[in-house]
Symmetry: C2
Subunit: 325 residues, 2 copies
Amino acid sequence: MIVTVTPNPALDLTWHVDRIVQGETHRADAGIARAGGKGLNVARVAHAQGASVLALATSGGATGVEFAAELASSPVPHELVPVQGATRRSVALVDEHLGDTTIVNERGINPTTQEWEALKAAVVRALDAPATKATKPVLVLSGSLPPGAPDDLLPTLIRIGRDAGAIVIADTSGPALLAAADAGATVLKPNAAELAEATGIADPIAGACELLHRGASLVLLSRGADGMLAVTADEVVRARLPHPLAGNPTGAGDAAVAACAVLMAQGEKDPTVLLRRATAWSAAAVLMPLAGEIHPSWPDLESALLIDSPSLMALSRPSTERTPR
Amino acid sequence: MIVTVTPNPALDLTWHVDRIVQGETHRADAGIARAGGKGLNVARVAHAQGASVLALATSGGATGVEFAAELASSPVPHELVPVQGATRRSVALVDEHLGDTTIVNERGINPTTQEWEALKAAVVRALDAPATKATKPVLVLSGSLPPGAPDDLLPTLIRIGRDAGAIVIADTSGPALLAAADAGATVLKPNAAELAEATGIADPIAGACELLHRGASLVLLSRGADGMLAVTADEVVRARLPHPLAGNPTGAGDAAVAACAVLMAQGEKDPTVLLRRATAWSAAAVLMPLAGEIHPSWPDLESALLIDSPSLMALSRPSTERTPR
């Protein structure tokens, strides 16, 4: 069973506009409203691929009502912790002419201490449920935290997961990424920029090793069109497609997390197997218009992957090499 | 009593972003949600200036719930006709750096025949109420219609107003502007571009005369920084500020309509008096950040207005002079 936690969910609103001219007024058809947030994308992908899933999130205010209604109309099992602050909105304006998307993400409202406690209690309950224990329990913690969220929130959730015997996968950035490593998250999935920003180390393999030294077991590093790296204490494996794919990269990282969660819930531990599936689902997400979906051709993508172990020379670089902050 | 009708209301969402870069992802504080639509702006301004007002609109779906809640938290008396289709959204992204605003307006969902009948019945009831009849009743019909709205909707509403003995002010554009003139709306308030587009006549005074010939009594023509014109069968009067104002033009036309409605409900008929107040409130709206509000300094703006009668030479131009369509 996979339990996903989305501590800062959003009502994702998307409008398609013929051609966006800044400062002008445009007409558009009705926008699409969807319950969004990285943990929900992970849950959507994992559920669609047949995994047993529970998505946990907060919801509040008028936007929370719409968020909850949209989620209720989806097939994804979920539990929403009610909060006073309104669920944030995320706005995407798709320029149909240029094919690009301009996004405005609200930062989100920090729940109260009591509300965070209620979310933690929901995680404890979910991990303790008999259905969760039927397979290897996996706890996925994904996405941003609202400004003002307690520093110990993510470490506490990771400890709750570890105490329940769960594999913990965290997809976060900034200081929270280091805190997640320190707290012993099993898998971390930064992208190259997030890893460099959090660790201050320019070299991606050296940065991944920093997270391993702090307490993580596996770092899955997403590198956009260059595929992904899996880094453990024992090995570095690289997976990439022979040709880059054009499409919508939003949600590609969430699909990678979903792949890892689904396989680990089945008992899979081999980093290369996890990396291959994560890279394939990530690529298959690029082919879909909406985050939280992957293209059914993913087995073909997985078969086509180029797998190798890049030179470990990078590891021998002095660990004091840091990027300017 | 002023009854405003907003046949295509919107939940107006506004986000302030430091600097918008197309195709990029931005962070922003929570957006502002407000019940919007031109008739509601008119009602807000008229009510704030002490007039007796009832705002009529439709509301539906999750956005309609939020729309209704926001309106309920405002002091403006209103009645909402429930509809199945979700109230549309309007999105404004304010670039704090450049100071411009990019707007995406959803077109809106056409109510059913039964729902339109319910709106018409609400207008009949409102105009028939004893409170409405205490002063001269004024019916204000403002803003766009959703795609697919019946062609006879606006003429029917105008006829309902006339049958109830009300002054009817219509702020619309396109073929609906001509239909409103044909149906005998008392006052029409196009801007210069809308007038030229609807009548096919480039000269604004000749275009206004076309609307008078069709059945209107007064045309208030808004000309942006060039102020306003009042055109009746007997005279043409121009009002403008000695210096242009910088600010937010959204809602300036609605403030002009509100001024006209408030004075006419008090029995005022002099086009110059109506024009002066309309121009002053319109300018005072430019000084406010939100549509539906006017700056309290409007009496000073009204005192400063330059009033004249422009040459009527324009009227002697052949009426066959038409702009290319």
